[in-house]
């Protein structure tokens, strides 16, 4: 039981439309009445590790559009298991995923050897290395890290980026009728993930920032200050596709705003085997022909 579990409770309320009992599961912010399907949103008291959401992004891609994009994406995955292409999703859910939006000022001190190309007296291409050291300060914004144990960060990175230019303030109206999760990772865990992502991003920025034709021995140290980290709800379509009764279903995510698709399709060893066998047969055939012609 983590630090968040003890604060979770199931909430049972009467539906405001029909009076039936609605159950809000511990990590859910929304629920639909099982009898009249009216959507409701719950606002639990905020805590340090489960704060009120600050921002949200509305769904733009409809369920049909998401399904279409998902099917198109699957069709292109040729090395996946047999029978995958024909399958339709077993479960489709429109989910608002809790994520932390992180930004900070990054101060970097760096030192590197910058390579400058030139032609020597024999007109051969050579590189001259010059030392460069300096400081680089920039603002790192729009780092999004998952706050859900259910969907790890690399899957989110697969469907990023979101257009954060249309970020809006969270209101219950944004999530009404959808599945909206509460964070299951602590704020500190997420801050740590965000810092890692921010530092990596600054490293990439630094490489593009440095002049010259090449860089070697780049050493840098990043200091992140003036951090802000806000809970944000981002829209996702989650598809579960079952291609084999013995194996767990594959999860495919579709970005609920941009329609970008991501999923991890297992490699079909059967297909690999078949291809290798076909190649071997081809080689055998060629050798046979060569032998016959001799």
């Amino acid at each position: 039981m983590g630090p968040l579990a003890s604060t979770e409770q199931r909430i049972e309320v009467s539906c405001r439309s029909c009076g039936a009992q609605i159950l809000f599961e511990p990590l859910q912010r929304t629920a639909r009445c099982p009898y009249c399907d009216s959507p409701s949103v719950v606002d639990r008291p905020a805590t340090e590790d489960r704060p009120d959401p600050v921002f949200g992004l509305g769904f733009v891609v409809t369920r049909d559009e998401a399904a279409r994009r998902m099917r198109r994406w699957i069709r292109r995955r040729r090395m996946g298991p047999f029978g995958l292409r024909g399958r339709s999703a077993e479960k489709v859910k429109g989910v608002y995923l809790p994520a932390y939006l992180y930004s900070a000022a990054a101060h970097t001190s760096y030192r590197a050897s910058i390579g400058e190309r030139y032609k020597d007296k024999d007109d051969k291409s050579r590189t001259e290395y010059r030392d460069l050291e300096g400081r680089h300060s920039t603002y790192v914004a729009d780092i999004l890290v998952t706050a859900s144990r259910g969907i790890p960060n690399d899957e989110i990175e697969g469907i990023e980026p979101f257009d954060l230019g249309v970020l809006t303030r969270y209101t219950p109206g944004l999530v009404s009728g959808w599945i909206a999760e509460e964070p299951s990772l602590t704020r500190e865990e997420c801050r740590h993930l965000a810092r890692q992502e921010a530092t990596a991003h600054v490293g990439q920025l630094l490489r593009r920032f440095l002049p010259g034709d090449s860089v070697r021995d780049l050493r840098h140290h990043v200091e992140l200050v003036d951090e802000s980290i806000d809970l944000t709800l981002v829209p996702l379509w989650v598809f579960a596709i079952r291609y084999d009764d013995e194996k767990p279903p594959i999860r495919v995510l579709v970005n609920g705003q941009t329609g970008k698709v991501y999923g991890r399709i297992p490699l079909s060893w059967a297909k690999v085997g078949l291809i290798l066998a076909a190649v071997a047969a081809l080689i055998g055939l060629v050798r046979l022909l060569v032998w016959l012609l001799q």
Binding site: A46, G134, V166
Partner: protein, 292 residues
């Protein structure tokens, strides 16, 4: 950091349709809460990202008459490669006065830069340099208009005296359109950042990076302070017709000598000039070969 909200118990909300009272859900097609029964859509309130309208209006100091005069002068002074009857045959179709919108920002920034220059080079033609400095930006104008093109605003921006700005639109005669801002704050920040980046590069190359030739220049900006204000700038947009084709000219509302626009070219005159040039070249070659 985290905020504790003093609410002893959970609050459950059902969002109700104003039209029929049913519970509404957020609709991805409407991008707002929509009632499944009667179809009415409730706008999502976003009071924290207000698209406030203009606060500062730079007044018109050029009258419509002066603008028309300026356009006529401009048309006759365009040069040789225009049709000879341009000034006489062009017909003024419309003269519209408008206020186009933009931001004026003030910033203090920490600018980190790096680049190659020819200063300090040894075997190679380039040597790397880097630096970091505090850079102030004052009264920088960034257009936010959808009505005028980038070329047009580029020509107009330095013609305005920002210290003459008022809280209300002033100086216009007759019907004048005030453009509305329709760009969100976050998109505004991006444009302002771009403008700042370009200006920073220009200033560093001008005064801080040694050498006279540069390449691979990059600048990173960290803002210490940014104050952005919304302004509206006066301009006249003229549409004129020549031989059936429509052309557009824009004149600054504060300086009638600041004009930017398109006008027709005379194909015959251009061809004639090219032929004359080629002929002259041929003659020159002939003379040189005779002399040589």
């Amino acid at each position: 950091m985290g905020e504790y909200v003093d609410r002893p118990e959970a609050k459950v909300e059902v969002l109700r349709c104003n039209g029929c009272g049913a519970a509404v859900s957020y609709s991805e097609t409407a991008r707002a809460p929509k009632c499944a029964f009667c179809g009415s859509v409730t706008r999502l309130e976003t009071p924290s990202d207000p698209m406030e309208q203009t606060r500062h209006f730079v007044p018109f100091t050029v009258s419509r008459g002066e603008a028309t005069e300026a356009y006529r002068t401009w048309l006759s002074g365009l040069g040789f490669f225009r049709p000879s009857d341009l000034a006489s045959s062009a017909r003024l179709e419309s003269l519209k006065a408008l206020w186009w919108v933009g931001w004026v920002f003030l910033a203090d920034a920490l600018v980190s830069w790096a680049g190659d220059s020819d200063y300090g080079r040894r075997k190679a033609s380039w040597a790397p340099h880097a630096g970091r400095l505090e850079m102030p930006f004052r009264d920088i104008l960034v257009p936010a208009t959808r009505g005028l093109s980038e070329t047009e605003t580029d020509h107009l921006t330095s013609s305005y005296r920002l210290d003459t700005a008022r809280e209300q639109p002033e100086g216009a005669e007759g019907e004048t359109i005030v453009e509305q801002f329709d760009i969100r704050r976050s998109a505004a920040r991006q444009r302002v950042a771009e403008a700042m980046g370009q200006l920073a590069e220009h200033r560093v190359k001008d005064g801080f990076i040694p050498g006279s030739r540069f390449r691979n220049f990059s600048a990173a900006i960290l803002l210490r302070r940014l104050v952005t204000q919304r302004y509206a700038f006066p301009a006249y947009v003229i549409a004129f017709r020549y031989r059936g084709r429509l052309f557009r000219t824009v004149i600054s509302g504060q300086d009638s000598t600041r004009i930017v626009g398109r006008a027709p070219y005379s194909v015959w005159r251009i061809l004639g000039a090219i032929c004359a040039g080629l002929l002259a070249l041929a003659l020159l070659i002939m003379l040189l070969s005779l002399a040589g």
